[in-house]
Amino acid sequence: MKQLLKKLTETFSPSGYESAIRDVIRAEVTPLADEIRVDALGNLIIRKGQGGKKIMIAAHMDEIGLIASHIDEHGFVRFTTVGGVYPQMLMGARVRFHSGLPGVIYNEPLEKPTDTPAIEKMFIDVGATSRKDCPIKVGEVAAFERPFLDLGDRLVAKSMDDRIGCLVAIETLRALKSTPHEIYFVFTTQEEVGTRGAETSAFGLDPDLGFSLDVTGWGDTPGRKHFDIALGKGPAIKIKDGGMLADPRIIHWMVTTAEKARLPYQREVLLGGTTDARAMQLVRAGVPVGCISIPCRYVHSPSEMVDYNDVQNAVKLATALLSNPVEL
């Protein structure tokens, strides 16, 4: 499982350009799926089981990134952000373009060395010396370059958001011996720019219910207050976030299933941010949805950290939920 997570997190696929990660995931799920397809926006849709309740599980494949906006006369690449990338995370960072080319980020001189530059004052140096010899074109995307780190129970990587959700979905599919449901695991695109892949795939599938698998924030490092989520205390069952109120019946289903299976869980009340579940909930005439979150430190940094036990328990919870009949 850790090996697969390493492979998933070391793949570069910013929003809108998910083909690389889609290929990695497809290779894993092909032997496990009853049906596989890719839709108009690039979502990878896996069906397991047939005829029962239509359940949609969404985990997003894309990651935050950058996009080249101008190559200047000396070959420096100006850029803007794709999704929530903060300038303080970029100072001195290394990135890799979709084409595989690496680059390093620096900025125009600052008034004070302690200032944070605006994105507009930063550039990517790919080793070029002129516009002509710069191998990057306007519109090319890049993502953080950072190797996977195994600290034992704690695992660190770029794009843990949401490759960890992808991993939980894949491992749940693997663990699922049989199901009374018609389950659609959707590895969605473009979540980081506004849950767009989930919106269109949910419309296409028209599910009876569903949930997303995504990361949530944390409250257990110095100075963090008012968020009662810690690494290692179990997957989080979402009550609400900045864009969605989880359906109380879904919450009840998740809580009772976790308790029956004696799995640790946390109750998540997140003030900001949201997940694919928001888009799923509001599609067509509305869908009852919830979310299983994996607590994750340092979200949207190049070093996002999760606890391995939470990941394993999330797989157990999702597997238990999908193995048995559900009446909301």
Partner: protein, 351 residues
């Protein structure tokens, strides 16, 4: 490559001088309905006021292509009557209030002339002149004899002009897209099912295109719009690295904006089409802003979508400026692209 005809210039002039602030697109809709009827298989005006046109192909394996342009423009709405022909107003769409004092406007369907007044220099202090005048201190003045009502729209009163190789108008955004769409209908290739949406309410949130795309449910879509060119020299003499697009650079193909990650297959296809026929094009700089593509690609189960815009300077001010050459090249690129579209274009997965 065909040049722009006098007839096309006349049509653009007529469309540009018509007033169609978001939600009140009737005047432009009327012109468009007359233009498209002889060439369309079906024409209808939907619940929101979009003009929806179809032109069915005749061959096998047709691709259903949606073309979109918005009919509406930014402007103003009267919100309170202060008596004596003075009206408080709100902005409709993105307008920089710093640019308003001293501008002429037309109010309502009868185009009552008015002015957004400004206090003369004689009666202001240096300190006051350095400050921006807030919107709530501005009024539209049509005089006591002027007939207007709260809820009426107003537009800049600028009249269309041709100046050598340039075009000047209040509504280049997006009447130039409307003209291009009308001409694409006239030259529709037989291997496509074309569906065209002349959309309402783009400037206030892509509202018309949202329902139009749901109605058509196309295989792919192209949103045709106009986008700022901020390509003037920078003050410190350095390199301008935030120009968005450049005038004279040809049609601007979108990769990424606030609303859309344009479909890479369609981006590549348009670029290849331009390369093959030596039609100049440029990539709009990735960044904020957006077009109807933002609504269209999210319709139903998703629609592969790309945006192409005509660059123009001074967007959303009283007068913006475009080049005839960019219009011509946008028309040429899109005409060629429509000819080249085949089912193979979408046979491969989105990269």
């Amino acid at each position: 490559m065909p040049t722009i005809t006098e007839k096309q210039f006349k049509l653009l002039e007529k469309l540009c001088n018509a007033c169609a602030v978001s939600g009140d697109e009737g005047e432009v809709r009327k012109i468009i309905l007359e233009e498209v009827k002889p060439y369309a298989d079906t024409v209808k005006v939907d619940a929101l006021g979009n003009v929806l046109v179809t032109k069915n192909g005749s061959s096998e394996n047709k691709v259903k292509v949606m073309l979109d342009c918005h009919m509406d423009e930014v402007g103003f709405m009267l919100v309170a009557d202060d008596n004596d022909g003075l009206y408080r107003f709100e902005l409709v769409g993105g307008i920089d209030a710093r640019q308003l004092p001293g501008k002429q406007v037309f109010v309502g369907k009868n185009k009552i002339p008015g002015v957004i007044g400004a206090r003369p220099i004689h009666l202001t202090t240096a300190e006051e002149r350095a400050r921006k005048i807030p919107l709530d201190q501005l009024r539209i003045d049509i005089g006591p004899a002027g007939k207007a009502r709260v809820g009426d729209r107003a537009t800049f009163a600028t009249q269309f002009k041709r100046a050598g190789d340039s075009l000047l108008s209040k509504a280049i955004d997006n009447r130039i897209g409307c003209v291009i769409l009308i001409d694409l209908l006239k030259t529709a290739p037989a291997h496509l099912d074309l569906c065209l949406s002349f959309s309402v309410q783009e400037e206030i949130g892509l509202r018309g295109a949202k329902v139009a795309a749901h109605y058509f449910n196309p295989d792919l879509a192209i949103a045709i719009d106009s986008t700022p060119a901020n390509d003037l020299p920078v003050h410190d003499g350095g390199e301008n690295v935030f120009y968005n697009t450049k005038l004279g650079g040809g049609p601007a193909i979108y990769t990424f904006d606030a609303g859309t990650l344009n479909d890479p297959r369609l981006i590549r296809f348009l670029a290849k089409t331009g390369d093959a026929l030596k039609i100049p094009y440029q990539f709009r700089q990735p960044g904020g802003g957006g077009t109807d593509a933002g609504a269209i690609h999210r319709a139903r189960a998703g629609v592969p979508t790309v945006s192409v815009s005509v660059p123009h300077r001074y967007t959303h001010t009283a007068i913006s400026l475009a080049r005839v050459e960019d219009w011509k090249n946008t028309q040429a690129l899109l005409t060629a692209a429509l000819k080249g579209i085949s089912p193979a274009l979408l046979a491969e997965e989105r990269p």
